[in-house]
Amino acid sequence: MCLASRITITIILLTTLGGLCVHYDTTYDENWPHPPGEQLQKQSPEPFVGERVLLFGEVQTVNADAITIHVTDDNDNVAAELEVTGIEDHVKPGGVVQVYGVLESKTKLHAEQTVVVNRDPSATIYKLGVSVAGLLLAVAYFFRQWQIDFQKLAFKPRTTKHDPEPEEVHHRG
């Protein structure tokens, strides 16, 4: 495929991808079955009192029988501060939890199910560090197998003696 065609198709695909991101954002809230951070912020949690909700939050304080969490919106602004009871798992401030339970009041949530996403900030750092290692591994392995063809501005497999592959045949004009 010639460079001009590849660039044209890439621009079309990037535009489509951008459109998908816009559509995803504008339709997410009405399709996600639980109140998102944005709604908690705009309306306060009041309309959802008595409902069973799933919320993600960062742990602020941990007491013997309750923890407080901050639920954030898409831009990491604090949308609501909630006191959560019924948590059996061990968490520390700075950790992240998913809580599924009944919103008992504007500020209280009783957990029926919890998932500790990150136990404490070190768990977040662990996940990030290991992910960077995975990214580097994949990219390094890729560049061992492929090289840049500067004339065509594209990647091509490094030629090896064991592995001669026929180029894709184009039957169509």
Partner: protein, 162 residues
Amino acid sequence: MADLLTHVLLAYAGCTILNWYRPIPTHWISVTMIGSILPDLNRVTLIVTNRTFEAFLDVPFDIDALSTLGGTVILAGIGSMVVTNQHRRTFAALLAGALSHHFIDGVKAYADGAAGTWLYPITWARHPTPSLYVSSDPAVLTVAISVTVTVLVIDRYAIQTA
């Protein structure tokens, strides 16, 4: 999301197993490993936030669409345009890697027992999840490394490939 090292290792292990049945050249295995990264490209928000995109484009914008089925199909399409030829095979390898990522993420834990909305834009439905793991649990990576090592040992000592 499970951590990326888990995804990359399991994509590699999966390709190695497929290679027992039908030879897969190593450069296609490397493309599949890149494919297994695609759904996590939404983590670019660690560097550029959605708000920056929104300010720049002046429309609502959520880069999380990249970690859905629709987003990764388009990303695989873009990836298939940066090779000199064999675009269809590149697309297939990238998509295979991305799908393995989606399947592994599809069984992670959600407190309400339903997985994320990764099937978008086909459907917003959330399928039930067995809630097998959370990504920050080192046991996930331990399992991934064990599986990969086991597969490599079998590949090295028990499998005769032409």
